[in-house]
Symmetry: C2
Subunit: 298 residues, 2 copies
Amino acid sequence: MENDKALFNIGIVERETGIGKDTLRVWEKRYGFPSPVRNEGEDRLYPEQQVVQLRLIKRLLDSGLRPSKVVGLELDALNALLAETPQTVPGYAPELLELLQMVKRHQVAELRLALNKIMFRQGLHDFLSKTISPMNNLIGDAWLRGEIRVFEEHLYSEQLTMVLRNAISMIRDANGSPRVLLTTLPGEEHGLGLLMADATLSVCGASCVLLGVQTPINEIVWAVKAHKSDVVTLSFSSVMPVAQIKAGLEQLRQALPDNVLLWAGGAGVARMRKPEAGIQLMGPLADLSAAVSAWQAH
Amino acid sequence: MENDKALFNIGIVERETGIGKDTLRVWEKRYGFPSPVRNEGEDRLYPEQQVVQLRLIKRLLDSGLRPSKVVGLELDALNALLAETPQTVPGYAPELLELLQMVKRHQVAELRLALNKIMFRQGLHDFLSKTISPMNNLIGDAWLRGEIRVFEEHLYSEQLTMVLRNAISMIRDANGSPRVLLTTLPGEEHGLGLLMADATLSVCGASCVLLGVQTPINEIVWAVKAHKSDVVTLSFSSVMPVAQIKAGLEQLRQALPDNVLLWAGGAGVARMRKPEAGIQLMGPLADLSAAVSAWQAH
DNA sequence: TCATGATTATTGTCCTAGACAAAAATGATT
DNA sequence: AATCATTTTTGTCTAGGACAATAATCATGA
């Protein structure tokens, strides 16, 4: 009665954690974890608890640890490791914590108002790099630790989307330069990073065309041709496997004309080591501004 | 020399086409297609041509055809089938055809301007039911017939999203009634329907909270509790399997308190036969307005 | 001491071949 | 024409193995 939570089959767990089916099975054989129960047909059924652990493990792997060190560990050990992960900055500004409080209290209208106020106070550029970027980390951490629920994260994303879309629609410039096409590759369904990039680029004077998420590679090529884009900007969230990012970038680079630049940003590319040829990896959002300046100065 | 285009491994083909690895392998065994070449390590390598065919096949399957009828077919046959797929009424208003032309010519700014103009001329309510609804059908048909490309559909969606988000942000009313929560179930990643519903409801005086897409069922329940929502509105696009819709609705209905209404709309529910108990199926957008009026009159 | 190259270990992804349950199509019956 | 039972179709899961790319370790020379 106490532990009859939800059970998930392997397909759902793959979607939920971003860890492939094959990998889940081979971990089970090699490390003895995860250890799903089985139904009548011998299909694996993963308890919710283990899915939580898998999410934490994914996060740790993304931050550079090796599977052999973390795959077997219990929740406590995982959290301990996570705490000493360099990425997690403990010193969140009080203002950000206030925003988090609003999310936790489901104060939708207040949250949007607060975001808008900060945006107008700091200016769009600083708003994105000094408030929203760390705020996204804070929200991500809070979710990882189970402090906020999925729907609360959705709520935050929606309000931020509203704020950014409004701002973007005011500063759109069809005649700016460079002409930038923004989208994500198939498999990457998070669009917030794109909005942040769009806002950053637009405020620098670029002319942005947003294509939404999950555009197949050959479609991107067509769109570039249609819009005579100078640059393609892709966003990758932390849930995208590095290998997929690499493969996608390489493929797109080959398919695009040489004179079209390729900029890749987001938490997903932050953990890529060496940059591919012909592809510029953007770490913080400031890199985007710098890249635009460089372009505008020819 | 002519046909040594790109070769894709199975993982990439899965991403590009949305067809799972297992499915690709079992199709090969059952229907003899696709027929990838192999590298030294016996890994499958799919020629670009076959990936194109697979994309067409995916379209046809989504529109209701069965794999045994289409998986083996050549390009010509696929295109022929695509041409005779159920076409909705050809009698589109000239104005809509003009909008389609803008999409085809990639006139992004003009398209948004045109949409905004029509919205202000017709009013939000008529704009959605008399222009956007049929326009979405027109776009969907054009895509199915290969008259427009994926990126052009994305482009249209983005402009419409911008227009609707702007409108919604102006008419949000935190104190309206009923209090409505809008989202989609896991598996449904199309958010345009939600925006249309949000706009329709908001203009009728409802107080809407948009949760984004793919909210797990138990999260919806939590969100309802947090917001003291009177109604949950779900949107289902045509790509969602009816069975999945039914199962999801039933599950959510059971999980929600009895006094919370459940409204379901979108192209996906249009082909559902009988309505489930405790769930109101919304056909055209006008149904939503009517439902709000009914609610407001107690 | 640090960098560079070679060697071993780790790890994700792909393979074959088969099984099964859910969904769809078909046939039978009211 | 609608409902129910049966058969076919179809996607997804299983096991167990193989391999190549990446990372870690060790050895070498500057």
